[in-house]
Amino acid sequence: MSWLPAWPILIPIVTAIIGFLVGRSPGLQRAVSVAGAGLLLVAGVALMADVWSNGIVATQMGSWPAPFGITLVADHLSAVMVVITGITGLAVVVYGLADIDRERVRFGFHPMLHFLLCGVCGAFLTGDIFNLYVWFEVMLISSFALLVLGGDKEQLDGAVKYVALNLISTVLFLSAIGLLYGLTGTLNMADLHRVIPTVENQGLLTAVAVMFIVAFGIKSAVFPLFFWLPASYHTPPVAIAAVFSGLLTKVGVYALIRTFTLIFTHDTGYTHTILLWIAGLTMVTGVLGAAAQNEMRRILSFHIISQIGYMVMGLALYTPLGLVGSVFYLVHHIIVKANLFLVSGVANRLTGSFELKKIGGLYKSAPFLALLFLIPAFSLAGFPPLSGFWAKLVLIRAGLEIESWWIVATALIVGLLTIYSMTKIWGQVFWEPHPQGFDPSPDKGPLKVSRRDYLLLTAPIAVMALMTVIIGLFAGPFYELAERSAAELLDPTAYVAAVLGPDALGPTVAEGAAR
């Protein structure tokens, strides 16, 4: 029994508990938080290394054998997602040292963030669909707390919409799990993969599959269920918005990928066609929504939606290359999007607003920041040789391969429109002079940012930008990682064997209708 898959869940909980217990001292809390995030990253990398060399790792909680107990499974996809969660977590914690005010730290920003990371890691690692629901809830309740932390009017307003729609999705997910259990008699995902073909009523199964699409669709903010996202993501402090934009919707996408490769593959002609339509429409509406916005964070929020479309597109094509693209996109996008949010926060600190019309002049006064914006922005739009280029290239090749012309055309046009939004931000925030005529530099400007703060704010951005460049320049290993993940997703034999034992996929026993 390996403990490796358990640590990414346990470390954030322990960090959060210690963080709460030392709550009276913000300094101590910050130290604990940074240490915990660092450890999480280490645990993620250790897990990744193990999976890379030894294949899928599965472990049974409480030593109860699968399919009865709760299984934690780490395949390549889960492992890489945990690593990325660690990176984002650490970046946001460091950024938060300068961005989150004392009041919010005292209210428990750091412990709450670690609870969120715990939920995210749990969702990536669990091999049980009901347990996935529980991790979603852990994630959700801590995201609620983070969203209203501090209690500004704007935050409450955004939170109402966020909470309302996410709770509906939660209940839908729960009902779908209940119906799925009624049909199959099991909740273990590997076991579900085995039992699904033996279910008599395949039509009902498809109906349940669609319920899952809707439930995860709300979580991952796809068309037409995305309204909560641009209504709420720009309201909390930037550090929180960055972790939301990087991780939360991606957990929804991960859940879609997991369920629609492992469980619901009985009628791909129907379910995956729906997904393809969703993908195309999500890309278009997201990017058009962004074009209509004039506030930096809201533009970025709408771009999250349009990018989700690309990830779902790879899944919907359901070819090896398509899934490679999805996984690559997922990894690249978490880094890039969180980074862009962090940049918007620094821009706000220096110029005093997020509104494009009210700010400007950053190119002259903070050229390094301008460079740090350009890298993720170009990567988001898909310029070579950055990470986004490869992600888009693979997806488009996957689309061409199965001659799905219109989705390819949509993806390319949406890429162009992404450049439009990015140049809009570039022009108004960096290029044009500041409308109030002052020089928004970190050391001389009217909104001074201390050296220590500026360093803490830009260091995570620089590191993540560097990672974007590295993924772009040395795409080989990352592509292989995505390829391995996709292979595991398309042929879950290894996954099932790791969870249920090597001979689980023998002649299908008639225990399918286990009632």
């Binding site: 009901f130 629901y133 529980v134 809830e137 959700l140 309740i141 609620f144 209203v148 209690g151 009017k153 704007e154 935050q155 409450l156 307003d157 955004g158 939170a159 109402v160 919409k161 909470v163 309302a164 709770l167 509906i168 939660t170 209940v171 729960l174 009902s175 799990i177 209940g178 119906l179 259990y181 009624g182 049909l183 641009p230 209504a231 709420s232 720009h234 309201t235 009632r515």
Partner: protein, 131 residues
Amino acid sequence: METVLAVTVGVLVAATVYLMLSRNLVKFVFGLMLLSNAANLTIFSAGGLIRGEPPLVPEGSYVPDGVVANALPQALILTAIVISFGLLAFALVLAYRAYQELGTVDTDEMRIAEPRPEPRTPAPAGKGTAA
């Protein structure tokens, strides 16, 4: 018995939809409460119903005696109840706080995070009128 439960779930969901279509945030939260109960009943009935046979293992034995009710759906429901209890408590408190801060429970009136776009007519700069 399943039929009765199925109808109950249907009625609960219908009531939920009615409540959720309201702009009133409090009604929405009430709808959510009904909906989570409907979900729990769905799990309960989907898991199969057996009357009057509690899944208890008799003294000195390791397996239950004969056919007993499925305990798993009940465990799932218990978990779901605990979770929805927490979430609904949060939702209620949030609704209350939002009312205190924003002065309304009408979701259409909550426009602080998403202000209405300014009218497109180009106003002459400098000549501020009390529009």
